[in-house]
Symmetry: C2
Subunit: 253 residues, 2 copies
């Protein structure tokens, strides 16, 4: 299932760049150094299944990881597609020690795996880390509030427009080109759409906002036009400043 | 806007029943005793607006509070309808000190208002409380995961079925009667449906599962039939044990 596993030379160094771990203790880093592993996982391979007992959490070094749940009738609900730098599996700590979703490699991915117990120890002994984790979780909750709002109020073309606008990362030019991060079937699943709904909606978005689609490249001729079309059905600020700027929201006690 | 305000005799006593506050310090309770207020708010009245600076958080004593956001084009997205016992406004602590939604009384409601600063002080000085708050937030995140899944995969009749099943609270009889907690327009908004979609979907649910609807009473002739119809498009256990049983998920460090 997993291609290889080795003790990483730089798992600690990689994690140190994540603001969530900025206030972790030396004890935590020593535990991580001795117990983290780096694994390589092929596209389409499962890392764990919803309901599995959870002993490890994960940080993505390269690649994309799809988190999903399966309904009793076998349909897949994609919860998220995570890029490099993101954590997953850590919430099992609060959920009876089992994973609350399944995780699969959306692309060939390089991942650090770390013991949940280290996280647990650090939370119990380091209040500053517990507060950082509260901040991180509040940020995730805010994104979910937006996701629920969008699935309720935005049309399918507007939701694709929103996905594309986030790729521009606040580009200051009114015209720019962005690249889709993964294939369109996966984007459709991430947005909770059937592939055929996605195709129809993308065509309508193209007609309404004059974007040009060439393979995985999207040429945006007018960011103003795209955001006007997309963001009218959203309660966030234009370019979602209230979603993306998590630094400014950091609690200071 | 608000009908009356007075220093409550039993705000502290009421809060003490909430497990989130079980490990709070004497200092916190002393602050609460001197600074909490009880207010009465009429149906349809606003308590605060999305983006308002947040100095207080709230606990519902009686009534129902609607949390919502408004899009740029004026459409309302209902985030939640909260019953007695629930907190709201407390997440402003992590979101730049402003409310991330508007709050309005869905029914005439009696509410305790408390200073955010007391919460902030307690989080900074009481690690056990910070962990309890992490647990509470993880529970909320789990419910949102389910909400997003349902809005993606369940049909409108299934989502109404799910709403009704939750009202049974695990009733052991296969036949039972439940009462809708608030009016149907509000239930439609809570489920992210237009009123006409809700009416059509309720009729379909009635036809498929033999429930009887008399005003705000729903007579369920077979819980098995209702849950079979509803829960086939959901990844949770039947009767959502993995959503509702938050006690068993409590982190123990």
């Amino acid at each position: 299932m997993i291609l290889g596993s080795k003790a990483p030379k730089h798992a600690g160094h990689f994690l140190e760049k994540n603001p969530l771990f900025a206030q972790c203790s030396d004890r935590f880093w020593a535990e991580i150094a001795s117990s983290s592993r780096e694994i390589f996982i092929e596209k389409g391979r499962l890392l764990f299944v919803h309901g599995d007992p959870a002993e490890r959490f994960y940080v993505i070094n390269t690649g994309w990881i799809k988190l999903y749940r399966e309904t009793l009738d076998g349909t897949q609900a994609v919860i998220d597609i995570l890029p490099a730098g993101e954590l997953f599996g850590e919430h099992s700590l609060f959920n009876g020690g089992v994973y609350t979703y399944s995780a699969e490699a959306a692309e060939g991915s390089q991942i650090f795996t770390l013991p949940i117990q280290s996280l647990k120890n650090e939370l119990a002994q380091n209040p500053a880390f517990a507060l950082d984790m509260l901040n991180a979780m509040a940020g995730q909750k805010k994104k979910q509030d937006n996701e629920i709002e969008h699935r309720t109020l935005q049309t399918a073309p507007q939701r694709i427009g929103c996905f594309i606008l986030r790729l521009t990362q606040g580009d200051e030019n009114n015209a720019c080109t962005v690249h889709l991060p993964y294939d369109k079937t996966l984007i459709a699943a991430r947005l909770g759409m059937q592939p055929e709904t996605f195709s129809r909606a993308l065509k309508k978005l193209k007609d309404e906002t004059d974007i040009e689609i060439k393979g995985s490249s999207i040429e945006i001729k007018s960011l103003d036009k795209l955001s006007e079309y997309t963001c009218s059905a959203c309660s966030s600020d234009i370019f979602c400043l209230d979603v993306e700027d998590t630094d400014k929201d950091h609690i200071e006690l």
